[in-house]
């Protein structure tokens, strides 16, 4: 069973980043930000964790982040200094499709 579910809100242990889970793959993954696992509601960071400078490209408000297969999708609802990863592999911003507004 995957511990993450769509709609779940997760926060970074090492920066101000917060994300909402939009989609998760069937197989279990470990999601992290700034090198440390993302925390769910009620979870606290283990002492001594700090932002890993190798995972500090930052997150952008309102961007959706996905993995290579596209099965995983996170929405950044609060930006921060860390960057997002799944099982240590960096997530990428989901490509925008610039369509003119129809409403």
């Amino acid at each position: 069973m995957n511990q993450y579910k769509p709609g779940m809100r997760l926060r970074s242990a090492v920066c101000t980043t917060e994300v909402v889970v939009i989609a998760v793959p069937a197989l279990n993954v470990v999601l992290s930000c700034g090198g440390a696992p993302l925390l769910g509601e009620g979870e606290t960071a283990s002492s001594g964790v700090a932002l890993d400078t190798a995972a500090a490209q930052g997150t952008l408000l309102g961007k959706r982040y996905t993995n290579e297969s596209g099965e995983l999708e996170l929405l950044c609802v609060k930006p921060g200094a860390g960057s997002l990863a799944a099982d240590g592999i960096a997530l990428v911003v989901k490509g925008a499709k610039p369509l003119p507004s129809s409403d």
């Binding site: 939009i22 609802v77 609060k78 499709k97 003119p100 507004s101 129809s102």
Partner: protein, 505 residues
Amino acid sequence: MNVMMLLEMAAQGFPERVAFVNGKESLTYQQLFDAAGRAAIHLRNSDCEHVAMLDVSSLALPIALFASAWAGKPFVPINYRLTDTEVDALLQRIQPAMLVTDDTRIASLPDMAAAALLERDAFVGLSIKEGAAAENDWTMDPDEIAVLLFTSGTTGAPKAAVLRHRHLVSYMFSAAEFGAAAADDVALVTVPPYHIAGVISVISSVYAGRRVVQLPNFNARAWLELARREKVTTAFLVPTMLAQIVRELEGQSSADLPHLSALSYGGGKMPGPVIERAMQLFPHTEFTQAYGLTETSSTICVLLPEDHRAAIESDKSAVRRRLTSVGRALPGVELQIRDNEGKVLAPGERGEIYVRGEQVSGEYVGRGSTLDAQGWFPTRDAGEMDEEGFLFLEGRADDVIVRGAENMSPGEIEDVLVRHPSVAEAGVVGVPDEHWGEAVAAVVVLKPGTDATAEELQNWVKRHLRSSRVPQLVRFATALPYNETGKLLRRTIRLDLADKISVEV
């Protein structure tokens, strides 16, 4: 997932930007967020399970919509053109409900119409006053119901369409980009709150970070004045509104709206002459046509500005014809055309339009989901797709005329009729016929000061289409029946003609 998370992001990304303007009143994104939170506390403290709104557009609309999402109580906008009796009947289906409305309705509605009644300004007042802010504790369950919308329906009693948070959020993801609006972008919104386009425009404007100017009661002159004064950059119109604007500008060479960079339209069939004239009057404006349904969280197809230009400039009839299409499917949306037996049809063949995608709900209160096992929703709209996926609407599936063994689209005949120099509006329906099963009948509104006989119009159709398309019956009328978004009510025409024919016999 919850549409509230979209407002939370907007309040964080551009807190000081003005979100909604109505007359002299306005709300910034931070003020809207705070107001939704205070209103949510009020909703939670009441016994109501639904939040109904019976009103024109005002600042109460975005507050009530987001407060409902925050409080976890479905938002139910109701058509303010309905009578007290009709409103009461809808309210009884969503009890206990809190109703936000105006003073006149509070006085005229029956005592037990809603569990709680709140006047619009009082509702805004309690939401914007200073006080404790609410916790960000809205549910993130994607399956929670966000909105119930009574479909206006061209047939039968209203059905309550169910839109869950996952449908609305999915639509935003596929149709827009967060924070895409420039700081000086201004949207002019005239669609009423009880229409899916009115609900969606609130959410998509927030997601894009646009400033929205509300125009509660549309008329062409007020729309043009407001668009000039507020330097409006984008707007959405239903076809009847654009037709009125074009008429208001008669005799002028340009609409004189240099800031208006984008105009989108949808909600009904756009007459070819209206859009062609509009493109001349708005030479610097990009036109986008949207097609969608309440049950699909609004837009599923768009005809893009480049499609408009390519069609206008082309000398190939197959490309030129695309000006009358509703464009191609949005990313994440799939379309099929099927026949009565459910067989998927090839390009160019007419049938019923089916749609699939994460934004598609297809669910009604009391009926459950109408999606098939593979997730396809039968729209009841008839149409065809060309080789490149451009969708052409032919009206409701029930409106298709079957003459002999031939299926005919009333829209195709109407398109030809409105190109006659004397014809302002045309409605085509099938009427019972002993020999053919159904015969083609047309009701026509002539332009003021013009003249045309039935025979002349029959010859006109014969010249442009096959002879089987020629209306056997042509009646003249002073107006045609439309629903409030400009959709022609062919059922009303059919019933009306059936009465007249039986009287004449």
